[in-house]
């Protein structure tokens, strides 16, 4: 865990109301693992007061990238920043995705900006040869124009399954429907699923995981205070008591979560 001032190398809109920022942060980049996040200050003053968490979308030797959607004040201020300015970063934080052993199939399921950490995971898995697993990415967005990093994704050696709600590209409908329609064909092999996206999608993946008995890990979100495990403000109900999203998460094996208690 490091606190540093990262210099902005670029900050640009990559899809409607979705931005990508690259920062020079060598120490964080060095330690970063897919699924971990950075907790950053969107402003030097106190409005908004608290830091905002963002998944690490990419980390190369000296640089990190985040992919963020404009939601409110903090992300609006972030989008106003320009190259050369610095951002106060805390990271890398939290638990990363953990591939156990060598499954025959690794499936990533991304909904919207949930692609951010999963792209990093895919890239990392492919860099670390030999990956004997077949890697499939299910990626759902509203419309073709909302696809993030489609060009980069196509360059990765993965099977790409796209769903758009309006049918402008790939399957027409929700990404979960597409995933579910393929799921049975995967089950004869050893399978591990990693997902990030809207809570509803993650809940459904959790119930499929329990029903069909395949391991799954999901990245969850909760409003954060400290981001480093101190304040206990970011908890969710786990099967054995409260869990801190910033510390025990944000990536959780689905069986650790009390899904009935989460809305």
């Amino acid at each position: 865990m490091i606190q540093s001032k990262g210099e902005i190398l670029f900050n640009q809109e990559v899809a409607p109301s979705c931005w990508k920022m690259q920062l020079l942060a060598p120490e964080i980049a060095n330690q970063a693992q897919p699924g971990q996040f950075v907790h950053l200050r969107c402003t030097e003053n106190y409005s908004p007061l608290l830091r905002r968490p963002f998944s690490l979308h990419r980390a190369s030797e000296r640089k990190i990238e985040i992919l963020y959607q404009i939601i409110g004040q903090g992300t609006r201020l972030l989008a106003e920043k320009v190259q050369g300015e610095t951002v106060d970063l805390l990271g890398p934080l939290g638990r990363a995705f953990q591939v156990k052993g060598q499954p025959e199939i690794i499936v990533l399921v991304a909904g919207g900006v949930g692609i951010a950490p999963l792209y990093f995971l895919a890239e990392t898995l492919l860099k670390k040869p030999p990956l004997n697993s077949k890697l499939i990415l299910f990626y759902g967005v509203k419309s073709k124009e909302n696809l993030l990093g489609y060009g980069d994704l196509k360059k990765l050696r993965i099977n790409l399954e796209i769903a758009t709600e309006d049918g402008s590209l790939g399957f027409e409908g929700e990404i979960l429907q597409l995933f579910q329609s393929r799921l049975l064909s995967f089950l004869s092999q050893s399978l591990q699923v990693f997902a990030c996206g809207p809570l509803g999608m993650l809940k459904n993946i959790a119930s499929l995981s329990l029903k069909y008995n395949f391991p799954a890990q999901v990245s969850l979100e909760k409003t954060m205070g400290c981001g480093i495990g101190v304040c206990r403000g970011c908890v969710i109900k786990g099967s054995q008591g409260y869990l801190r999203v910033c510390k025990e998460g944000p990536v959780f094996p689905v069986e650790d979560i009390d899904w009935a208690a989460i809305s």
Binding site: L49, L50, G225, V230, C234, V235, Y242
Partner: protein, 304 residues
């Protein structure tokens, strides 16, 4: 000019006047990775209770203008685990360790205090009489001067450790409670705790906190905190540890001029972990600029 930053909270001598506030620093482990804990005047731990507490139902925090609302519900591992697993870590550092204690009944406070008194490395206890998230029969324990008097007096019988009474500011006459704590033998007063607040999500029409209401902290409460410190400082003789929305040296100095002998940084730790260290430096700079050698000369020096 050789500055003298030392100050006292009763029997507790501090090497400098900047501490970190209960509940915003855990038990020091996480922040030790980011900052040097030896630079702090003192560390006040998260509230410790007799039995482990699970804490309140989430969501537990939400941001509000220039502040945040929290309802953590005093989640903590309980006094036994604190002594076994948390205190040894804290004890390595050259800083004062003040353990914040909480409970629902007098007897609970006493048992916690007794157990903590056996540890050699604790410098003082801060008695949480003001958590807005822990209520008995719907009201905050520390709102009643008689309850405060009785609790502090009883605690004095079971422990020799200096007691800081952490009082609520959510009453019309904070001075009454402050005097009750002083008469009962409190070594110093901690002011202020968070103030009760509420926020509603108008889309879902539900409260933003699982607990419905929570405690407001951050710059939003600072003027209230400074006012309460000023009022109480004039009403009691014991020293005051001031807190509430301190983000930098200038803010800390307001509390000191109002009458605080030391200050604690709370919510600002979440915003920027370097705040306590920077606050110390900024106080030093102020002293140098104003040619004041001894920090203590500043305490209560507001001109009204």
């Amino acid at each position: 000019m050789l500055l003298d930053l030392t100050t006292h909270l009763g029997r507790i001598s501090l090497k400098n006047p900047v501490l970190v506030a209960s509940g915003t620093f855990g038990y020091g482990e996480e922040y030790a990775e980011l900052i040097d804990l030896n630079q702090l005047g003192g560390i006040i731990t998260k509230s410790v209770t007799l039995k482990p507490r699970e804490g309140s139902f989430p969501p537990r925090l939400t941001e509000t203008p220039a502040g945040m609302l929290n309802a953590i519900g005093l989640e903590n591992p309980g006094v036994e685990l604190f002594l076994k697993e948390k205190l040894p870590f804290l004890s390595q550092f050259d800083t004062k360790i003040i353990v914040n204690i909480a409970g629902e009944k007098e007897d609970e406070f006493c048992q916690v205090a007794e157990k903590l008194s056996k540890a050699k490395t604790i410098d003082a206890l801060e008695v949480n009489l003001s958590c807005p998230n822990l209520r008995r029969g719907g009201y905050i324990l520390g709102k009643d001067p008689e309850v405060v008097f009785s609790l502090i007096q009883t605690l004095k019988r079971v422990t020799d450790l200096p007691l800081l009474a952490k009082l609520t500011a959510a009453v019309s006459e904070p001075t009454e409670i402050a005097r009750a704590a002083e008469e009962a033998g409190a070594e110093a007063l901690s002011l202020i705790n968070t103030l009760p607040g509420m926020a509603i999500n108008i889309q879902t029409r539900r409260p933003r906190l699982g607990n419905i209401t929570g405690g407001l902290s951050g710059p939003a409460i600072r003027p209230i905190a400074v006012r309460v410190v000023w009022e109480v400082a004039r009403a009691v003789r014991i020293p005051i540890l001031g807190m509430g929305g301190i983000m930098k040296g200038d803010d800390a100095l307001e509390f000191i001029l109002a009458g605080a002998s030391a200050v604690a940084v709370g919510t600002a730790n979440f915003v920027d972990p370097t705040t306590p260290g920077q606050t110390i430096k900024q106080i030093e700079n102020y002293l140098k600029k104003n040619k004041i050698r001894r920090f203590r000369e500043l305490i209560g020096k507001v001109e009204t």
